[in-house]
């Protein structure tokens, strides 16, 4: 696990995107810097109660998260944070997760 989620900042126009692109969707520049976003606000939550093709599935939550000056992320929620809450973001093997701020 690592703190923050890596997003990609276009060196040409500064827009941040996630996931990584080949060209910037705004200016079509080809160079990006990696940047970290550490928190975001939950806009919607979905409780995943069933996974097709899998048995013994344990319900879990995903959330749509608005990051400050950054892209919208879909994250796995690791606690009971609700819609409107500001959460801290972290990565596990390249995938974004979030939990309530301490």
């Amino acid at each position: 696990m690592s703190a923050g989620v890596t997003v990609f900042r276009c060196k040409g126009c500064g827009i941040k995107v996630f996931p990584q692109r080949l060209l910037c969707p705004s200016c079509h520049g080809a160079e990006f810097d990696a940047a970290q976003v550490h928190e975001g606000v939950i806009e919607e939550i979905a409780v995943i109660r069933h996974m097709i093709g899998q048995e013994n599935w344990r319900p879990r939550c995903i959330a749509n998260v608005r990051t400050k000056d950054g892209p919208m992320l879909t994250v796995g929620l690791r606690d009971e944070a609700g819609e409107g809450a500001t959460i801290e973001l972290f990565e596990e093997e390249g995938a974004p997760f979030g939990r309530s701020k301490n």
Partner: protein, 383 residues
């Protein structure tokens, strides 16, 4: 330039669980045989073929042509999921119009099984594999649960508003012998169904089935004697319309709707029957709204009045929600096929009286936060 039209449609049986010996290929064979029979076309006269399938691999289109015994001069394999059917229709029309091929088969079919579908859903693209599947996102159900929550909040929708779509489509499916779910569904049953991915419950989520569809494109005068061909007044597509930077409550249809109607020379009020890609009720509403078919963008009123009171014939074969989704490509082809049957007066018990104009859509490829492809066509009964 030649004219081009849809002259025949056909489908395989649909089933939730394929039997031993059934495969994507055998369902496709059954649909092709049915479509050629319907169009009264000899297989030896087919010069072109388009196919889309999530489960044809490792075979490709040319392998399918080989196994169907078709020697071709026009071939296409499409990868746009829920808008593949509409995309292939456009290419096939132009293929006939240009003289590249006289008769083109357009095919979609899948028999993934539930476990196979789960693998496809988790590996849909690199973004899904790397950034969504590790969350346990539930495949497209999870993605569209988030979209539905946004839509409910923005438009003041109640859960029962989606229910009107599911209930109405089930009533249509009761009249479709190919539909996998034909028992009438009540609003009470809809509301009491178990949650799958809140706020989506069982009847909001398209059931995966095995099956295939095919249509035949040719000059209108190749239609069977006594039957009107179905012509396409307008056809538009959209790919990656917003780089996934919006809210997903509009689809790519919004990028072309105005010019689409203008090109067709008709207006939304002229449409007699609509086939709208329905992997989820929320996306039916999004596409209808993009098309301008929802007055005042009042989605809730449209659900309660136009659909709840059966004022608008939408997805008259039951839609994928009740007939089943044999993969997005075949699901989209079923939407087109139903529009054709309605316009030809061949829809049996579900026939909409005097249907002359239909709109059909496709929507698909959930790239990260919602679908990135969309397409639409206005179909008209030829004279």
């Amino acid at each position: 330039m030649h004219q081009a039209a849809i002259i025949g449609v056909g489908q395989s049986a649909y089933t939730r669980r394929p039997a031993s010996g059934q495969s994507t290929h055998t369902f496709i064979r059954d649909a092709v045989v049915a479509a050629l029979r319907d169009a009264a076309i000899d297989a030896r006269d087919v010069q072109g073929m388009a196919v889309a399938s999530f489960s044809l691999a490792p075979d490709t289109a040319v392998d399918l042509a080989w196994k169907l015994g078709l020697s071709l001069r026009w071939l296409l394999q499409d990868t746009n999921g829920g808008s593949s059917a509409m995309n292939m229709l456009g290419h096939a029309l132009r293929g006939v119009e240009s003289g590249a091929a006289d008769i083109i088969l357009v095919i979609g079919g899948d028999a993934t099984g539930l476990a196979g579908y789960g693998k496809i859903a988790a590996n849909y693209n690199i973004a899904t594999r790397d950034h969504l599947a590790p969350l346990g996102h539930g495949g497209p159900n999870g993605v569209y649960a988030l979209v539905a929550s946004r839509q409910m909040r923005k438009y003041g929708l109640a859960k029962s508003d989606y229910g009107h779509i599911a209930v109405a489509q089930r009533a249509w499916a009761a009249k479709n012998p190919f539909a996998v779910y034909r028992v009438p569904l009540s609003m009470e049953e809809y509301l009491e169904a178990p949650m799958v991915a809140d706020p989506l419950s069982r009847y909001d989520c398209v059931p995966v089935v095995a099956g295939a569809q095919a249509i035949v494109i040719a000059r209108p005068d190749r239609a069977p004697r006594g039957r009107a061909a179905v012509c396409v007044r307008a056809h538009r597509t959209s790919f990656n319309y917003d780089n996934q930077a919006g809210d997903g409550l509009q689809t790519g249809i919004s990028t072309f709707a105005s010019e689409f109607w203008q090109s067709a020379g008709v207006a939304p009020r002229d449409i007699d029957v609509a086939s709208v890609y329905d992997d989820y009720p929320s996306m039916v509403l999004a596409q209808l709204d993009d098309l301008g078919l929802i007055p005042d963008h009042d989605l809730a009123r449209f659900c309660r009045r136009d659909i709840g009171e059966a004022r608008r014939p939408i997805n008259t074969w039951g839609g994928m929600l009740s007939a089943g989704q044999p993969g997005g490509p075949a699901g989209g082809l079923n939407a087109i096929s139903e529009a054709v049957l309605q316009l030809q007066g061949r829809a049996g018990e579900r026939q909409v009286a005097n249907a002359r104009l239909a709109v059909a859509t496709g929507y698909g490829m959930t790239m990260y936060r919602y679908g990135g492809t969309a397409a639409a066509a206005i179909l008209e009964r030829g004279e």
